[in-house]
Symmetry: C2
DNA sequence: GCGCGATCATTCGTATGCGAACAATCCGCC
DNA sequence: GGCGGATTGTTCGCATACGAATGATCGCGC
C-alpha cells in the first residue's frame, strides 16, 4: 500500500502566467508601452481617450465624459485637470445647472486630438501585430464581449 | 460639379470604443473589480501575482521576481515593501552577492497565497463569464500571443 | 415651498506603473 | 590588481485608478 499522500496542493496546476487577469494586465501593459513610444509625452492613453471623446462630443460634463470613457469621477477629475492646465480643454459653467462644469476642447486640443487619432491607427496596428487579420477580428470581437 | 469637400476628418470612422487599447483597458479594469470584490482587502492583483510566484519559487530576488511577474524594479519595490510590512514576505541578505536581497514568503504568506489561489479559480470564472468554453479557450490563446 | 434622495464635482488616502537618476556591488578583461 | 560596464536595489516625480467622505445643487413628491 502506498504511503499517504500529502494534502493536495492548491498551487499544483495553477500557472500564474495562464490566468486571464495576468494576461490582461500584461497585454494592456504592452499596449501602453507601444502607445507611449508612439505618442511620447504629448498624451497618455487616458488623456487621449478623454480628449478624443470630448472632441467628438464637442461639449460634455465631467462625470458624463468619465462614464463614456470608463473613468470614475475621482480619476476623470485629475485627467481633465491636467488637460486644462495644458490648454487643451476649457471648463465653462453651465447656467442651467450650477453643479455641472461643461468641458469644451480648445482649438489646440482639437488639433492635437486629430493628430493623435492618425497615430492611433499605427498604435492599434502595432498592438495587434502578433495576430493575423482573421485572428484580430476574432480577438476584438471576444474582447468587446468581455466588457 | 459638386462643391469642394472639406478635408477628410481623421475622426470620421474612428470609434474609440472599438480600439484594442481601450478595450484592453476596460477589460482589465473589469477584471480588477471582480478580483477586488472576491479577495477584498487581503491582496491586490499585483500583490497576489508576486506572492503566488514567490511561494512557487520558495525564494527569489526582487528584480528577478519582478521580471517574472511583469513589474519593473521601481514597481516591485513598492509591492514587496507592502508585503513585508504586512508580514507576508521576509527579506534575507544573500552572502554570495551583497547587492541582492533574497525574498522568502512567511508561513502566513504561504497560507494566504494558497487561500487566494483557491479564490483565483472563481475570479477567472467570473472574468470569463461572458464567453462559452470554446470562446474562452480561443480568447486565452489569442491573448497569450499578445504578450 | 420644503425636504430628501440623487447627482456633480472635489478631496484624501492608498496602490499600481514607469522613466530617470543614483549608490553599491559584482564581474570580466586587461 | 584595477578599471569599466553591467546588475541590484532605491528614490523621486508624475500619471492612472478607485473607495470613501464631503459640500453644493437639483428635482421630485408631498
Amino acid at each position: 500500500m502506498p504511503p499517504p499522500q500529502p494534502a493536495p496542493d492548491p498551487l499544483s496546476g495553477y500557472v500564474l502566467e495562464d490566468q486571464v487577469g495576468h494576461l490582461l494586465r500584461r497585454a494592456h501593459q504592452r499596449h501602453v508601452a507601444i502607445f507611449q513610444s508612439a505618442i511620447g509625452a504629448d498624451l497618455t492613453p487616458t488623456q487621449f481617450a478623454a480628449l478624443v471623446k470630448l472632441v467628438e462630443l464637442r461639449r460634455a460634463t465631467q462625470n458624463h465624459l468619465g462614464r463614456l470613457t470608463g473613468m470614475d469621477p475621482a480619476t476623470i477629475q485629475g485627467v481633465i485637470g491636467r488637460l486644462v492646465a495644458r490648454g487643451l480643454v476649457e471648463r465653462a459653467s453651465d447656467p442651467t445647472d450650477r453643479r455641472m462644469v461643461a468641458l469644451v476642447p480648445t482649438a489646440e486640443g482639437v488639433r492635437l486630438a486629430l493628430a493623435a487619432v492618425v497615430q492611433g491607427r499605427d498604435i492599434t496596428e502595432a498592438t495587434l501585430a502578433p495576430l493575423d487579420p482573421a485572428e484580430r477580428h476574432q480577438f476584438l470581437a471576444l474582447l468587446r464581449r468581455m466588457i
